[in-house]
Symmetry: C2
Subunit: 334 residues, 2 copies
DNA sequence: TTAATGACTGTAAGCGCTTACATACTGCAC
DNA sequence: GTGCAGTATGTAAGCGCTTACAGTCATTAA
C-alpha cells in the first residue's frame, strides 16, 4: 500500500497524490476530492520514512533530561511534550542520568536520529565547574538548534530559557532576614549555572545585610528528604544555631520540616523554611511549605515556542528569562 | 556525506560499508578496519530515514500515558524509557490527557509514525465502563504489538502487565479489620480495570468480614489532596463515623492525613490510613504514610521486556502479574 | 588438472516519497 | 488564427540505504 496504489485508484499520477497530501495549491478541486476519496477507501497512510528521506525531517524534537521521574523534571517534560504536540511535533524522550559520559553519548545519539532540534531540560546539563567540559553541547548545536531549559551556555545556535533564580532567592532570603532571621541555612543540589545563581542570591542577600555565612550554613546535598533532615539534625546536635532553611528543591525543605517535627522545633516561629519549585510536596507537609515557584510550565512552553521560531527561520533572543514567585504558605512568618 | 562517500574513501563498495555498519559477518578484518577508519575520518553517521525506509523500522517505541507529570506515571514512563534504551530502542512520548477522543487520535497518530510497538502506561486507557469503547486499541494492535501497563484488555497482539491490585487491597483491608477497624472509607480514582480490581478487593474484604459498606464509604474522586480532605471533613461534620481510609492513590491518603491533623484526629490510633503507589508523597507527611507499593519499576521493565520478546517473534503470556506489597509506615497500627 | 566449495566483495534493484521540470490544456487579447 | 500566460497534471530523477544475486578468488577434494 503506497502512494502508487492511491494514484492508480484515483486515476492520477503519484505527484498529484503527493501534492494533495502536502496541501499544495495547484490541484483542481475535482482531482483533489478524487484523491482524497481514494486515500480514504484504501485507508492509506504515507510512509513516514520515505517522507523523511525526501524532506529530511521527521518533525520530532529530542527532549533530554537527567531523570524524568523527578517531580520537577517530570513537569518540565510534560509541558514540553504538550506544547510540541500542539505544534505538530513529536517528542523523543531521553533520560541520561547524571553521568557526564552518558550525557555526551545520548546527545550524539539523538543527533544521529536526525531530530529537528533538542531541548535540554533541567540545569544538570551545563556545569559552571571549570573541570566539566560543556563543548559537547556547543558542537552538537552546529547540527541543530539546542534549547536549554533552566541552564545557560553561550554558543552558536544555543538558546536559553532561565528562571531569575538569583533574584528569587535573594528576595526570599532578604524577607527572611527582615523577619528577624539571623542564621539561615542554604541547601543546594547542583553546581549548574542555575544552582550557582541561586546560591549567589543567598550569599548576596546575606552580605547586603552585613552577614557573613558560616561554612555550615551552605550545604551541597542530593535531592533527598532524609539527607536534609540528617544534616540539620547533625547541626542541631552540635548546637549550631540556625533559624531558617532555604533549599533549592522542595524535597530538602520537606526534610527540614521533618527535622523540626522530630525535635519539636516550632515552624515558623523558631524555624522558617522555604523550598524551591513549588511542587506537590509543598502541599503535603504540615505546616504546608512556602516555596519558590520556578514556573516550570512557562519555562517549558517558552522553550518550545523559541525552538519553533528558530526552526522557521526567525531570529530570537539567546537568553530569555522567566520570573519566579515566592508562594507563601505556612512555613514562613511573612 | 553518505554511504557512497565512505565507500569511495575506503575503496570498497557501498554494500561492504553497509555490511560493516550492520555487523554482518562476511567481511574480512582488513576490509572492516579500512571501512571503520573511513567512517571515523569522515565522521559519518548513517541517515536514519533511508535506513528506516529499507528496514521499515525506526527502533522506536511509543509510550502513551494520560499525564506524565503525575508522580506515578512519571515513574512508569521513566523506567520504561530506561529499559527501552538498554535494548537500543528510542521512546516517543505521547501524553493524551483523559479525553477519550484524544486517546484515539494519538494512538492512530503513533501508528502512522510507524513505531515498532506501543506501551500504554497507566490504567486510564482501558475502561471497564461498558459505555466506553475499547476497540480502538484492539484495532491498533492489528498493526503492531501493544502492551498495557496496569490495564487489561483481551485481544490479538495485546499483552498486559498488571499488579495484583485486588489481593493487595484485599489483604490490606483485611489487616485493617483485624486491627479493629469497623468503618473504613475507600477512595477510588478511576473505573479502569485496575481501579475496579482494587475496589473489588476492598468490597470482598468487607463482605468476608461480614460487613456491608455504606455508600458513603466508597468515594470516587480525582487525584487531589484537598478533594479527599474535603470529603472526609464533610463526613466528619455530619458525624458519619469512620476509622480508616484506604486510597487508590497516595495523594488522597495525604489528604486524609491532613484532615486528621486539622481535626486533631489521632493517626493511627483513631484513624488508620493506607495509600497506594508508595510514592515520594508517602515520606512527606507526619506521620509517614503506609502505602501499597504497586511496583512501578517492575511493571515497566516487565512491559518492555515482553515487548522485546514479541518483537523478536517469541511467544509470551498475554497476562503477566506483579505482586504488590504493603509498605508499613506510621499511619497503620500493625 | 579440474571442479567444487566457501569466503569475500561488488552490482544494481528496489524501498515510497518529494519535487524540478516538462507537458498539456484553457482562456483571452490581439 | 496566433501567441501567451496561467493552471493543472505527469514524468522521472533523486534521497541514502539494504540486500538478493552475481561475480571473483583462493583453497581443497577428486
Amino acid at each position: 500500500m503506497n502512494i502508487y496504489d492511491v494514484s492508480k485508484k484515483a486515476g492520477v499520477s503519484i505527484a498529484t497524490v503527493s501534492r494533495v497530501l502536502n496541501g499544495n495549491s495547484n490541484v483542481s478541486d475535482k482531482t483533489r476530492s478524487k484523491v482524497l476519496s481514494a486515500i480514504k477507501e484504501l485507508d492509506y497512510t504515507p510512509n513516514i520514512f520515505a517522507r523523511g528521506l525526501g524532506l529530511n525531517t521527521m518533525k520530532t524534537i529530542g527532549i533530554m533530561c537527567t531523570d524524568s521521574s523527578d517531580t520537577y523534571l517530570a513537569n518540565a517534560v510534560y509541558y514540553a511534550e504538550q506544547t510540541l504536540r500542539s505544534f505538530g511535533y513529536d517528542a523523543l524522550l531521553c533520560c541520561t542520568g547524571n553521568d557526564y559520559d552518558n550525557k555526551r553519548k545520548y546527545l550524539s545519539l539523538l543527533l544521529s536520529k536526525r531530530v529537528d532540534g533538542i531541548i535540554l531540560v533541567g540545569s544538570q546539563f551545563v556545569s559552571s565547574d571549570p573541570a566539566i567540559d560543556n563543548t559537547y553541547i556547543i558542537e552538537a548545536a552546529s547540527e541543530m538548534p539546542i534549547i536549554l531549559v533552566n541552564g545557560y551556555l553561550d554558543g552558536e545556535n544555543i538558546y536559553c530559557v532561565m528562571c531569575d533564580d538569583r533574584s528569587a532567592v535573594y528576595s526570599s532570603t532578604a524577607k527572611l532576614i527582615e523577619s528577624g532571621v539571623k542564621k539561615p541555612v542554604y541547601f543546594y543540589t547542583s553546581t549548574s549555572t542555575s544552582g550557582m545563581n541561586k546560591l549567589q542570591g543567598f550569599r548576596d542577600a546575606l552580605s547586603d545585610a552585613g552577614m557573613t555565612p558560616d561554612k555550615k550554613q551552605l550545604h551541597l546535598c542530593t535531592k533527598n528528604i532524609s539527607k536534609a533532615k540528617d544534616y540539620l539534625t547533625a547541626l542541631y546536635n552540635e548546637a549550631f544555631y540556625f533559624d531558617a532553611v532555604l533549599a533549592s528543591d522542595d524535597s530538602l525543605a520537606v526534610g527540614a520540616v521533618k527535622f523540626a517535627y522530630e525535635h519539636s522545633v516550632k515552624v515558623p516561629d523558631e524555624l522558617q523554611i522555604i523550598g524551591y519549585n513549588n511542587s506537590v510536596l509543598a502541599n503535603c507537609t504540615e505546616p504546608e511549605l512556602s516555596s519558590i515557584d520556578s514556573k516550570v510550565e512557562q519555562l517549558s512552553t517558552t522553550a518550545v515556542s523559541l525552538l519553533m521560531q528558530v526552526l522557521s527561520g526567525n531570529s530570537v533572543p539567546k537568553l530569555n528569562t522567566v520570573t519566579a514567585d515566592l508562594i507563601k504558605r505556612k512555613t514562613t512568618k511573612f
